[in-house]
């Protein structure tokens, strides 16, 4: 039986990697992927707890998080496309029309 803390550490690692991705990458699409990683980390937590508690509530929560991740990805990619049409770039640090 693997202690739940191991799952927590695993999820934390994915979470932090996702955060690093968001913070450092210039490509918007990869940033979006990093966010997917973060949500994935959340899911690991939820499922691990679900097993720990012996109930499926956590899994259901995770299911909704996956739904949300999908929705965000869809909308996000849509906006990226719209953005790309106008600006011919997907680099985050070239989005600086709005500042100060």
């Amino acid at each position: 039986m693997i202690p739940v803390s191991h799952y927590l550490f695993l999820s934390l690692a994915l979470f932090i990697i996702g955060v690093v991705g968001v913070l450092t990458r210039r490509n918007v699409i990869i940033i979006l992927m990093s966010i997917e990683l973060i949500l994935n980390a959340v899911n690991i937590n939820l499922v691990a707890f679900s097993r720990l508690f012996g109930s499926v509530n956590g899994q259901i929560f995770a299911l909704f998080v996956i739904t949300d991740a999908a929705a965000e990805a869809a909308v996000g990619l849509g906006i990226i496309i719209a953005f790309f049409r106008n600006r011919e770039t997907v680099l985050a640090d070239e989005m600086d029309l709005l500042k100060w």
Partner: protein, 523 residues
Amino acid sequence: MPSPFFDIREFPLIQPEAELALFGVAILLIDTFLEKREKWFNAATALVGVGFSTLTLVGLPDFLVRNLQGFAGGRFAIRGLAGMMRGAEAANPGFPGFPGFNGTILVDHFFIFFSLIFLAATALVILLSVRYMEIEDEHHGEYYALMLFATVGMMFMASGVDLIVQFLGLETMAISFYILAGFLRRERRSNEGALKYLLLGAFSSGVLAYGFSILFGLTASTNLFDIRAVLARSYKPDDILVFLAFVTIAAGLFFKVAAVPFHQWAPDVYEGAPTSITAYVSVASKTASFALLLRILYAFEPSKSLWLILVAGVAVASMTIGNLAAITQSNVKRLMAYSSISHVGYILLGVVAAYSQEDGLNATALKGIAFYLLVYAFMNTGAFAIVILLRRQGLIGDELEDLNGLYKRSPGAAVLLLIFMLSLAGIPPTAGFLGKYYIFLALIETKHYWLAVFGVLYVVPALYYYFRLVKHAWLTEPADALRPSVTFGQAVALAATVLITLGAGIYPEPFARLASFAFALGR
């Protein structure tokens, strides 16, 4: 035959949301049949939807009391809206109401109060949008449908007492807003704003979800009341994992309300989004997030000693940064963004006061938060409405210079602008003053004198930048003599906002009662 899944009698609890969703879908369907110049019909449909929903909502308490006594939620007393306005006594402090759907939602005064704000804001923004979106040439049915869906999300945020419902409500609202913010697809600033909003919003949702997952892990439940009970029972107030959960959840929610240091999306998105959506984001999204925040903080109350100072710090930082940055802005929408950040600071001060009492919550503070949010919705929408008025072919109207000589061009608009600015700054006899008044009173009651001093002193720089708008509108010469024209819808929206802004300032009694009943407070 009763459904195996749920009791049909519970349906009225989500009827307002369901109606909105149905109207949203209806708009999507009708829209396909409409010619370009008939698109206003979508707005009308949306308004009707909002109207229906509002009626249902207003009638809901009485209906529930009549039909659901003895039903699952019957243990809570609830009073009709009329009773709320009249000021009848409430039975229970805290959050009484009708729980439904296995305890995932709670239909109570709190929900009704906040939903009314959302619906009002939605209606106002719809009224303000028609012409604006026509000028932008992006007048689609989806726009209104999304607004209705966003409202659905917000209402679930307010009624949800379950992490999952809240999360989904939040996301429904947020995703709708990402789209709405980027609705002007050919406008580069709109694209950029939407993309920033989405990336940061999704990121913060991730952080929030992470917090939710930890919280779920700690308490083995998604129900806020259970969570609260477990936290109170099994955890020390300063348990580190509870704190971790709080911090991540708070970061997510502070992001949504645009509190420092999670505020940075706000100016950019406000500037980039269509002005009507800016108004909507600044009012509805913020109010809904506060509703959610209040619900969740209530669950975290057992460990409040841990996070109270954090919230206070965020409040002061928000006021400071918001006010400082607004001073030198030249773009009205950005200025309003920063101003809204400082307003968040005030409301958070109210939150601090609310949780600063030994036992229970401070009634004045809760009332203050409710009142503040209520009047903020109207005065801020009103202020944006003026900016929307300035929009015309070839002029966005969101620079300070665009206000120049507004007084000469349209005295009425200038007077309204003045009233809204006064109210935002908190000068009596406008509603904004009353909002601040309650907050300050609560702070004094809970002995947060220095926070109160901070709060009042920040009124001064705030007034300064609000009056920069007034100065441009009143004391400078117009660059062009074009008079902004006002459509009927805009006129209605302006009249409503100014009526509430002044009315709640001069005769605040009914509004104060309404605010107290948001938390079912006796007084």
